[in-house]
Amino acid sequence: MTALVKIYVPLETTALSMGADELVLALLNEAQKQGQDIEIIRNGSWGMSWLEPMIEVETEQGRVAYGNVTASDVEGLFRADFLKGGAHELCQGLTREIPYLKTQDRLTFARCGLIDALSLNDYQANGGFLGLKNALEMPPQDIVDQVTKSGLRGRGGAAFPTGIKWNTVLHAPSDQKYICANADEGDSGTFADRILMEGDPYSLIEGMIIAGLAVGATKGFIYLRSEYPLCREILSEALLNLRDQGFLGKNIYGSDKNFDIEVRMGAGSYVCGEETAMLNSLEGKRGMVRAKPPLPAIEGLFGKPTVVNNVLSLASVPIIMAQGSDYYQNFGMGRSRGTIAFQLAGNIKQGGLVEKAFGVSLRELIMTYGGGTFTGAPIKAVQVGGPLGAYLPNSDLDLPMDYEAFSEKGAVLGHGGIVVFDDGVDMAEQAKFAFDFCAVESCGKCTPCRIGSVRGSELMAHIQAGDNVAENLDMVRELCDVMETGSLCAMGGMTSIPVLSALKYWPDDFTGRSRK
């Protein structure tokens, strides 16, 4: 027997969807055949999703990565002496030196990929719970002020200052308050919440505990979409571990504070990502949007003051509390402070997660990190910020990734999802889909969204058939105006954004001139 070698194979949805479990079996079998002692560690993903399954071998120089490894590559890897970091066509070199990763600003995702997601030792050895320890020694107002000063804004899409929301809840008098983590990551092109929950679940939980200390809440919920079953398993185990170790429950970490968390599952409804619909769903009701006011911060879950934050907003809190608000605030541009996790998706060569300070350009993300389109065809459109975000043309890709710069353009940064389309896309089809999606997912509470979406889809079908195109396009514009101004929430209110941006930049796709 030779010395034991550690091999990291991610236990993460993308890696699994590309055959990681079969790969583990093949590695174990081959190692046994060769009389080689190996230990397989299931880490999270580094976010270099296009390389998944990306395995790493621990060597004296550091962890050496091999990308896109399938079970059939295993024999060859052993022949190439990969356990010593041997050369092989799949070898990516030292993980920490891969440019895609090396040039990122990893704050929220510092531990993702590095550690075994469920190892509390790994978590604490890499800065975990430093923020909580600091928070436990601070009065609530000081915690809130530190988060406010950091400039952190809601990462779910609405970009509301997190500290201000917390302050409202802190000062709302109540016998019971709640912390809700919105893990209903439904936007197409987004997967950062999932990568975090699968790769570093304790950071989300630590953020929720700190939020509880800050506003005086003793109970938290994670509202998780049902499409993420692996997250549920990992989070549930993480919560058990933390209860065992005294980080959750009564007298957390030996203090006089109490806090506990439950994971609740959504059931395939997109609109439940809207915070008030989410609260209704958590209450066991239909996921109908509520009119605001009252704000959830005043009357939220079960009518009590509630902090509703996105997963990444909460997971960014520990580092702010550990390193101080200035540290975090020093990243970014303008009023967009800190970092944001961009997600490169769609027709892209190197899809994955890129955490960068605000201000990086869309083009740099797509070309330098993403490597251009997967198909190699020219880029026609890029949708940023999910299904309710604008389609941007190639000429707009120099836009800096900043909340204000995007809103000036009538676009949305949202949750940082970037979906690239090559020149094969028909933008009229995409505009119709925006209405169709709204029709499928509308909660039905307000008329502009419930009926407007269906009428919009019908109008688009006429336009695509070349039926009274000019007249119908005018109606689409008018309908968009009604939906935008008359809808209760972003579902109906922002469906106009993808529709009108498609119409603005690619009018030929609508008038039929460029239709095949």
Partner: protein, 168 residues
């Protein structure tokens, strides 16, 4: 190849059993907002939400049967009848569209002889739309019996379907 097919465990459907249903429901009856969890529990047990469970749910959560039905029918996940032995969901959202999910869907529909939302006559496969599996860096995606499969191609799809046939 043949060993791999055991990965995809077909969804089992239980016959209606009032006692079992009551056992599932009572686990969640004291939980604030527990109706959603109870519905998930029933679907896990029976493969769908049997209408016979509405009065039990109404009783447990102090609601009317209409309110229970209202919640059940709001969510895409909760089924009114059992699905096929295997469930294939094809992502229809933007990222997968950009990677050819429309033609993949057409291929699937032609191969299985059904449309999205339908089940094959022999009850073998249900084909469904899903809007984002959160695996968008390796689009297009499908899920087979709850397992996401990335970078799907028509050939890979046909192969997966064939493997489900070998198995049952």
């Amino acid at each position: 190849m043949s060993q791999k097919s055991s990965d995809n465990i077909p969804i089992e459907h239980a016959q209606w059993d009032g006692i079992e249903a009551q056992e599932v429901i009572s686990q969640y009856a004291d939980m604030a907002g527990g109706l959603m969890e109870a519905l998930h529990g029933l679907q896990a047990a029976f493969g769908y939400i049997p209408p016979e469970s509405y009065p039990l749910l109404a009783e447990a959560f102090n609601l009317s049967k209409a309110e229970v039905y209202g919640v059940k029918s709001f969510y895409h996940d909760f089924r009114s009848q059992p699905a096929g032995r295997h469930v294939i969901k094809i992502c229809q959202a933007e990222s997968c569209q950009a990677m050819g999910s429309r033609s993949l869907t057409k291929h699937a529909e032609e191969m299985l002889g059904i449309r999205l939302g339908q089940t094959t006559m022999d009850g073998h496969i249900s084909l469904e739309a899903i809007y984002c599996l959160g695996n968008c860096a390796v689009s297009p995606n499908i899920s087979l019996d709850g397992r996401t499969q990335g970078r799907m191609t028509e050939a890979k799809f046909s192969d997966l379907v064939k493997r489900t046939e070998v198995q049952s």
